[in-house]
Amino acid sequence: MATAEKAKQKSDVTLHYLRPGKKFPSVWCPGCGNGVVMGSLIRAIDNLGLSKDEVVLVSGIGCSSRLPVYLDFNSLHTTHGRALPFATGAKFAQPHMKVIVITGDGDALAIGGNHFIHACRRNIDITAILINNHIYGMTGGQGSPTTPGGTFSTTTPYGNVEKHFDPCSLAAAAGATFVARSTVYHEPQLQKLIGQAISHRGFSLVEAISNCHTYFGRLNRKGDAVAMFDAFKERAVPVGKASKMTEEELEDKIVTGVIHNVEKTEFCDEYQKVVDAHMGEK
């Protein structure tokens, strides 16, 4: 197929999932990686052949958390940090629905950190896509739990003295059963991982390393969106290759691919067994 034709087909798919009636352009800065993640999510869902009605997109507050509002699914844009417990209620009430959470590094790991580890622990069948841009975009560039040591934000004007979280290690340690990472540069991989995560039964996390060129880029002289995308390309190391590298060699690298994938019983399934065993008891 000619490239132009392919591109048109791709954009038709995207348009099919954008919400009619929702006013565009989005709130996002031109070049923001949030748009790439939105595209990946659309194509992943399309590839899986899910019906729009069976998908619930839940988010908290942040630039990244605006994503569900643009898409033609059931959407629940909640409060800062609380997307996962809202999603837990929605999923547990209707376990046949595909519940996908869109969250930011601040949303998921600072204010929502407790909910994050407990959703992992329960292994509830929710897919969380954590768009990690290492900063608070929406509120204008403050430090987040993933802001690397030494880097600048409006609240670390002399360089960050704190340590940062690795969301993937945190999720795996807390009990998530599928954990993967990619970047907004590696769109085909990101799309594939999101698809795998949605198909996985249990709690799945896809960390999408993204650019906030407007704040993180500017405050840390990382250049514009394109320069930041290029840097993701340079820094990415597939998980297989990474396993043969030393910690020093991995410094500043982004390990991509499926990082953790195990089978465990899922929360809603287990609860259903309780219901089946006790239904009708007086």
Partner: protein, 377 residues
């Protein structure tokens, strides 16, 4: 007629029976004295009827799960006490804004802060009205006996569904932990209200449409309507707005759908008020003392009447004013340092208002109320 089911229950347990009767199929909560039995009973009973119980990691998560489950179509409830209610406030505000029916039981204990975990109080009266930030109309109901707790919890669910709004059940430690022999309502005996579902096609559906009574039909996720729910101020389609002509429309909808229908919400019990010169106003366990004291005082000929509020919010301004019309004096009895009284003073500036407060963690006794009546007379 079949014999009605008789049960010896605590208020907290009665609350769960009422909730299930009203159709509760989802409970999320976090243990806190003196409300914990509500969660425990829900955990035990819900699976037996195909419902769902989840113990969340905290109260913020509990109310979030409740809202998520309600939007997914299940009648949902959480239960807590002061500190937990404080934690829930942001998401209760979310429920107001998104017009999500749900029930929050607040078994009041002494505060502020951790306060008196095992002692009675009514010091969350105002929190139930003004807790979450922003402008909205709150609904709070208040039982005073174990039997009431069944009916008021049912009423709370009905009001939540009728008005598409969170409703607080203001219990207190004494009612929650008292055991009383009660009859549970039979199937079909009490009316159960279910949220109105849309009849429009998904293409024509407007999620927060302005209807004559202000309540928009509410589909569940998965029913084909795919609408947007957000805590940001939104237009009638559920999309964020900053427009000066759309913002007031939303806020007025939240207000008028409740403020214009207070007749459906207000519930007051009146005893001996026909010729009363002194009125005692109270709710919850304080009302029990007030009612008993009124009976005692009447026996010695004192012209005293009692008004028990079963619904605190919206405050029954007009009805109370009318009821107390011929009284010169009003006693407000409450288990706090004066919360209900601010409302009474607001609506009856012309009356001689006396307060009877107790905030040492103990209940008001009928004798204390009788003494106050003597003082006032």
């Amino acid at each position: 007629m079949p014999a009605r089911e008789r049960k010896l229950l605590q208020g907290n347990q009665a609350c769960v029976h009422g909730a299930i009767y009203a159709g509760m199929r989802f409970f999320a909560g976090y243990p806190i004295t003196p409300s914990t039995e509500v969660a425990e009973m829900s955990a035990r009973l819900l699976p037996r009827i195909g419902g769902r119980f989840i113990q969340m990691e905290d109260e913020i998560g509990s109310i979030a799960a409740v809202v998520g489950a309600s939007i997914s179509g299940l009648k949902s409830m959480t239960a807590t006490s002061g500190p937990g209610y404080s934690l829930m406030l942001e998401n209760i505000g979310y429920a107001y804004m998104t017009e999500t029916p749900c029930v929050i039981v607040n078994v009041q204990r002494g505060g502020p802060s951790t306060g008196l975990p095992t002692k009675v109080s009514q010091s969350d009266t105002m929190q139930a009205r003004y807790g979450p930030h922003g402008d909205y109309c709150a609904i709070a109901v208040a039982p005073s006996t174990v039997a009431d707790t069944v009916t008021e919890t049912i009423r709370a669910f009905n009001l939540a569904e009728r008005f598409r709004t969170p409703v607080t059940v203001l219990l207190d430690e004494v009612i929650a932990h008292s055991r009383e022999l009660i009859y549970l309502p039979e199937e079909g005996e009490l009316e159960i209200y279910n949220r109105v579902k849309p009849t429009a096609s998904p293409e024509e559906f407007e999620a927060f449409a302005l209807t004559p009574n202000g309540v928009s039909p509410m589909p569940s996720y998965g029913e084909g309507y795919r609408y947007n729910v957000t805590g940001l101020t939104h237009d009638t389609h559920g999309f964020t707005t900053n427009r000066v002509d759309e913002i007031p429309v939303k806020l007025e909808k939240l207000r008028h759908k409740i403020a214009d229908y207070t007749d459906e919400i207000e519930k007051i019990r009146v005893e001996h008020m026909d010729d009363a010169e002194v009125a005692i106003i109270a709710y919850g366990s304080a009302a029990r003392a007030a009612l008993q004291a009124t009976d005692i005082a009447r026996k010695v000929g004192a012209k005293v009447g009692a008004v028990q509020l079963y619904s605190i919010w919206p405050f029954p301004d007009a009805k109370l004013k009318e009821l107390c019309g011929r009284c010169k004096k009003v006693i407000v009895a409450e288990l706090n340092m004066g919360q209900l009284i601010t409302e009474i003073e607001r609506i009856m500036p012309d009356k001689q208002i006396t307060t009877l407060q107790r905030y040492d963690g103990e209940i008001l006794t009928p004798l204390q109320v009788v003494k106050k009546i003597e003082e006032v007379l």
